[in-house]
């Protein structure tokens, strides 16, 4: 009797976790512009790309920081897609410092950064994020 209950409970947990993967489908692309550049082009590029699930884009002074999250099966080649995006963005905005990251952590931090009220700290945070992207170990 006891063992049966544990088995049922385990099955329930497995089903719940399996079904959790089905939810959470949202396609949101956030763009925040603190500069005089035109953000329409990048927005168009990101919405048109079928492989991208969500993205955060931040223009700040001479920096263009982009973090993207891929759809499940595009995640296997996410570094390649990221490089491709970076190349395209450098063509679109030749006078900006373009950084593209496909890392979830960067996307998380970017969303935090965009919600931040104080604008003075943004440059400092961007510097920190860029060093985090470069980190290899």
């Amino acid at each position: 009797m006891e063992g049966m209950n544990i088995r049922k409970f385990g099955l329930l947990i497995i089903i719940v976790f399996l079904l959790l993967g089905c939810s959470n489908v949202k396609n949101d692309i956030r763009v925040q512009n603190n500069s005089s550049e035109d953000p329409v082009k990048i927005k168009e590029l990101l919405t048109k790309d079928e492989r991208i699930k969500s993205a955060a884009v931040l223009f700040h002074e001479r920096e263009l920081l982009t973090a993207v999250r891929m759809k499940t099966f595009s995640r296997f080649s996410k570094r390649k897609i990221g490089k491709e995006l970076e190349k395209k963005l450098k063509e679109y905005y030749p006078e900006l410092n373009v950084t593209v990251s496909v890392d979830n952590k960067i996307l998380m931090e970017m969303n935090k950064l965009m919600d931040m009220k104080k604008q003075e700290k943004v440059s400092k945070k961007i510097k920190k994020l860029k060093s985090l992207i470069k980190e290899e170990t």
Binding site: I14, F17, D103, E135, E136, T137
Partner: protein, 151 residues
Amino acid sequence: MDEKKYAKLEQEISPKIPLMKNILKAFLTGGIICLVAQFVALFYMTYFDFTERTASNPTVATMIFFSMLLTGFGLYKKIGQFGGAGSAVPITGFGNAVISAAIEHKSEGYVLGVGSNMFKLAGSVILFGVFSAFVVALIKTILVKLGVVSW
């Protein structure tokens, strides 16, 4: 009774191995271990400055620590009995191999017992891991020097 007869008899008497059931069990056990590790990695990414790429190192260390604790309390062998290879193939199996050997040889003293026997099983994992990493790095270096691929 000749050899063929014996082999036939042996096959008839010995219980059938439930292959599909074992595979399913191993799949579930290994999957659950990896699910836990995924949450640990998410924890390191949320609360510390680790990216997806760098979070793997502390995650591996934490998972080995968990399996060492479980081995010490005698719980990992129950997981191993249920999951088979599903509990041995992830990195937790490595921690289990180290600590179970250490516990087994504790009675022989700390230096000659625990110290020299701790890596009895896991030592080959380290040796061949390092060696295969060296070989792969060598091949990649040669390919980069030849200009076939880039870093």
